[in-house]
């Protein structure tokens, strides 16, 4: 399953919520790495963590911590 850390490859993991689904990640992991791991690398998305907007320019430096609540959104039709 995408998002699960291979226990043989990393000894420390964290658990975060991604769009309401719990996922385990290796530690440390940046937003950029996490998006790639979760399959969003080729998708146009925007991200918020714990209700706060995370600019794309910080994906490479923003590190996830255990318990983070990550929202990944994309374009939809709207009224």
């Amino acid at each position: 399953m995408a998002g699960l850390c291979d226990e043989r490859a990393c000894s420390m993991t964290i658990t975060v919520s991604v769009n309401g689904v719990m996922q385990e990640c290796p530690l440390p992991i940046t937003v950029a790495d996490a998006l790639q791991q979760w399959g969003y690398d080729s998708v146009r998305v925007a991200v918020a963590i714990n209700g706060e907007f995370v600019p794309r320019s910080t994906y490479g430096t923003h590190t996830l911590v255990s318990g983070d609540d990550v929202d990944v959104v994309a374009a939809v039709q709207g009224g």
């Binding site: 146009r44 959104v73 994309a74 939809v76 039709q77 709207g78 009224g79």
Partner: protein, 269 residues
């Protein structure tokens, strides 16, 4: 008043010819959505953001359809119930859609999707300070509208009726009051418009535009209805600019009475 051949307007400085703004949701298919938007003549379309899983394409197909239309995008904060949620979603929308326009929705009541005036005002002030061009979806309350202008909104979008009801202009008095008291503010009726006649009525009140979605998307023939709304908004606008006659209580013939045949002076008395 503009010359008859030039009736463009410019919300937040963006010159537009069409005064109809159209939503992109609820159409029977993406292809019909595209056809309807083109048939309407709308230059501004609303879009939104939602959680997506990469397995479903992550919104890429919708993004491509929207880009193909090559129109001005107005992202919304639909579904937000607090200023904080709306502010965060607006920032996400600005990055993803590459626009500082935002249709600001902060819902205060789930039964009729009535805007929360207090959360809306807080969010509008914060977003304006962050450089957004805020199009607040608001009630028709004059004082709220004045406060929204005070915090930096340059356009207002009062509801005609609750979202998706299609009931038309439920409070023409309040809308007319807004027009009279805020003569220089672009006013757009947003929500509740169900039939082209409602759009005509809004434009005849002097509103600058109409924003709708469901009335077109869920019509039996969305493409034809989109065209109808485009014409209705244009007709209502022309009617407003032309200046309607004053209504009278009593009949008055439009055909001259002078020279009427078969007329005889009554000499019996």
């Amino acid at each position: 008043m503009n010359e008859p051949w030039n009736d463009s307007w410019a919300p937040y400085g963006k010159p537009l010819q069409s005064r109809l703004m159209l939503g992109t949701a609820l159409y029977p298919s993406p292809a019909i959505m595209q056809q309807a938007i083109r048939a309407s003549g709308a230059e501004v379309i609303t879009v939104s953001l939602r959680r997506q899983s990469p397995q479903t394409g992550g919104g890429e197909s919708i993004w491509q359809l929207i880009r193909e239309l090559n129109l001005t995008l107005l992202p919304n904060t639909a579904g937000c119930h607090s200023a904080k949620e709306a502010i965060t979603l607006a920032q996400m929308a600005r990055e993803l859609f590459e626009t500082d326009w935002i249709k600001l929705e902060v819902i205060g009541d789930d039964y009729n999707l009535q805007p929360d005036p207090f959360g809306l005002l807080d969010a509008a002030e914060a977003l304006t300070k962050l450089g957004f061009k805020v199009f607040p979806y608001c009630t028709d309350d004059l004082v709220l509208c004045q406060r929204l202008l005070d915090v930096g909104c340059e356009v207002l979008m009062p509801w005609g009726a609750p979202i998706g009801t299609g009931q038309g202009l439920l409070n023409p008095y309040a809308l007319r009051t807004l027009r009279e008291r805020l003569p220089d503010t672009p006013l757009i009726v947003d929500a509740g418009v169900g039939a082209p006649a409602h759009a005509v009525a809004a434009m005849e009140l002097g509103f600058d535009g109409v924003l709708l979605n469901t009335a077109v998307a869920q019509a039996a023939n969305p493409v034809l209805m989109a065209e109808a709304f485009g014409e209705a908004v244009a007709a209502g606008r022309k009617g407003y600019r032309a200046g309607a006659m004053a209504a009278r209580q009593t009949a008055q013939p439009s055909t001259p009475t002078l020279g009427m045949p078969f007329w005889h002076q009554d000499t019996s008395s």
